[in-house]
Symmetry: C2
Subunit: 216 residues, 2 copies
């Protein structure tokens, strides 16, 4: 498998975590979003959505991270990302989808660029926008986790939910979101960040991470 991505793209980070959790081998092919490489003709011919991540696997260029997570579990059933029980699977997908649809999308780079360029919003206004959508989903997410009495992970080990959560928490910290009212979320963050699958997937540790940001 070959993963086309960008070190700081949260959806690329999402797939790196999932591939690592499943113990699947993959090569990383960096695509520089700041240079708009994803909109070049060669890349667009393979992925008309012109975004990252793209996973080349089993003869297909796969372009949507949430669909890829489901595919990984179906095509490579060992070390599943989703729990086995139908109700647990629902809960896992509900919380992951809240992040992927309601939270991630308004914070995606193309949206932030539109706010800055077309709508001429300054950095402060973009920061307020960013934290507004974070709060709108992270507060109810924390309530759901409270109801479920979660500890280190949503279920007994990290999977699809944690692969979607951690990149968003990473982004939120870059935008100075206040996690004081999110003890369940930060407990999961802390537990995950100690694991090799998450450490290897972190934006600080990628082949395209700028030298001054590298940690490992």
């Amino acid at each position: 498998m070959k993963l086309y991505g960008y070190y700081r793209s949260s959806t690329s980070y999402r797939l790196r975590i999932a591939l690592n959790l499943k113990g699947l081998d993959y090569d990383i092919e960096p695509v520089n979003l700041l240079k708009s490489e994803q909109r070049g003709d060669a890349f667009r011919a393979r992925n008309p959505f012109a975004g990252v991540p793209m996973l080349e696997a089993s003869g297909r260029d796969r372009a949507q991270s949430m669909a890829i997570l489901e595919w990984l579990d179906e095509a490579h059933p060992a070390r599943p990302l989703l729990p086995a029980d139908i109700e647990d699977r629902y809960i896992c997908r509900e919380l992951a989808m809240a992040i992927a649809t309601e939270l991630h999308a308004p914070l995606n780079l193309p949206v932030l660029k539109y706010l800055t360029n077309e709508l001429e919003q300054d950095k402060e206004a973009v920061g307020i926008w960013y934290r507004h959508w974070l709060e709108k989903t992270l507060v109810p997410l924390e309530q759901r986790l409270e109801q479920l009495e979660t500890g280190d992970f949503l279920f007994d080990r990290p999977g699809l939910f944690e692969a979607v959560l951690l990149p968003q928490v990473y982004n939120a910290r870059r935008f100075d979101y206040d996690f004081a009212a999110s003890p369940r979320i930060t407990a999961i963050e802390e537990a995950c960040l100690a694991l090799p699958a998450f450490i290897a997937a972190h934006p600080d540790n990628q082949p395209d991470t700028p030298e001054k940001e590298k940690v490992l």
Copy 2:
């Protein structure tokens, strides 16, 4: 089952189509988004995400439409929304997720309200925003459908993809999107709109549809 929704909410419309396609019985409980009923204490206690749709089913209040679609197929396997083949399932989810994550989210009512109220954008600017995100996903989606040589449906009969596509096409028409370059999408639209499952799910035909908009 009881579906809490709003006649014009595209994610409520999505679930109505899916439930009809599967032939499952459900009652509709209207939630008036214009009166912010979804943010009332009683509703929020059941659904902290404070949005519609919410599906009360098998003893749980379910709050995320994409997770509910997956759950419906797992808990009620007859008349599946997803095809059986793993690669076809991937394709179906990829195209549905492109709409649910990249397209739907920036066009959601709370985002449009933020643009109007907090960012003081006028109706014209909101319309430009709306059509910008429609084009960004509907153009590559049309290319994917072209590659797949689709006819009336993505596969042999309508399912998860069509349940997600049709409500977005309905919204796009309300915002005067030009479908001239989308022949595959409009072919699927036309085929679906002729089917009882889609007719019964349409925003024109709901218990909370205002009298002047009712068709049936």
